[in-house]
């Protein structure tokens, strides 16, 4: 099999590929979100101790997981960009940052509206919440650093270093509920133990999590297309794109 996968490391090849894939991921996200919310709101039972307030879980956990996961993916592309000086990898990292920031902001927001009825407070300087707030600031820092540097290749390297250094925060968030005595509860779902929740609640949470995952991929693909055009404009291949013809 002579599949030259690295062919797709070229922005000219990846631009139409991303345009073809993004709508499928967006449609998958919409379908999974509809299914997950149906399970979460119509089928899953009322929680014995939290009442209906627990239903925030179907949006809080997916956004919180994605906030962490997108950061790791951004750090991965940043590492590739640094190691191989690969333009497209840096563009992928650049495309992921705003979506990751949005996920972190939503995780904090939905957490606040879950914390108020269950713990009696919108916010506490608890280890998990504080480290998630730092995650949001890291995303915003990466975005701000890029806009502060005019030369895109220098911005790529600076942002990649910041993204990689900041990656140490992700395990801190994940293990914060174990390492410190936090107001935030411990993990309800882990790879090593049986889930501590009803199976319909778990199903709804997993389906909405896959929806959030698919959405993050779609958004990143759409954004990387805009970034490719921004950074490759003036090159011969961009001028030959079908959407460049006509008035």
């Amino acid at each position: 099999m002579a599949t030259h996968w690295y062919r797709y490391a070229s922005p000219a090849t990846f631009y139409p590929l991303a345009g073809g894939m993004a709508p499928w991921f967006a449609a998958t996200a919409a379908l999974l979100a509809a299914a997950g919310l149906w399970i979460g709101f119509a089928l899953a039972p009322t929680d014995a101790t939290q009442g209906e307030a627990y239903r925030i879980i179907f949006i809080h956990v997916p956004t919180a997981w994605m906030a962490m996961f997108v950061y790791l993916v951004m750090a991965f592309w940043s590492a590739l960009a640094l190691a191989f000086n690969a333009r497209l990898s840096a563009m992928m990292a650049q495309a992921l940052a705003p979506t990751g920031a949005l996920m972190a902001a939503l995780a904090l927001w939905t957490g606040a509206f879950w914390g108020r009825p269950t713990w009696g407070t919108y916010w506490a300087w608890d280890a998990r919440m504080t480290s998630t707030l730092i995650l949001l600031f890291l995303y915003l820092g990466v975005i701000a650093l890029r806009s502060a540097i005019d030369d895109p290749r220098r911005a790529d390297r600076a942002c990649a270093v910041l993204a990689l250094v900041g990656a140490v925060n992700v395990p801190i968030i994940y293990f914060s509920v174990r390492w410190w005595n936090t107001l935030h509860q411990g993990a309800s779902v882990s790879l090593t133990a049986a889930p501590k929740m009803a199976s319909l609640m778990l199903a709804g949470m997993l389906v909405t999590s896959f929806a959030a995952w698919a959405w993050c991929i779609a958004a990143a693909l759409w954004r990387v297309r805009a970034i490719i055009l921004e950074r490759e404009r003036g090159s011969a291949w961009v001028a030959t794109l079908p959407e460049m013809r006509g008035a």
Binding site: G51, A53, T99, W109, D151, A239
Partner: protein, 59 residues
């Protein structure tokens, strides 16, 4: 329906959470479309020219 919206007295918390996420997704779609449209218009205006990135790799 009213009972569903009330969420057993937790309606404010539940719908503020889901409402913010719905607004965020719509806002992201709008922003993505606007950014792509702008990038396309600027690329069209630029035509073919030696881009700064290319000159750097040639150095």
């Amino acid at each position: 329906m009213a009972e569903f919206l009330a969420m057993g007295g937790y309606g404010w918390y539940v719908w503020m959470s889901y409402g913010a996420c719905a607004v965020a997704v719509v806002a992201e779609v709008v922003a993505l479309r606007a950014r792509h449209r702008r990038a396309r218009a600027e690329a069209k205006a630029a035509g073919v020219e030696p881009a700064p990135e290319r000159m750097e790799t040639a150095r």
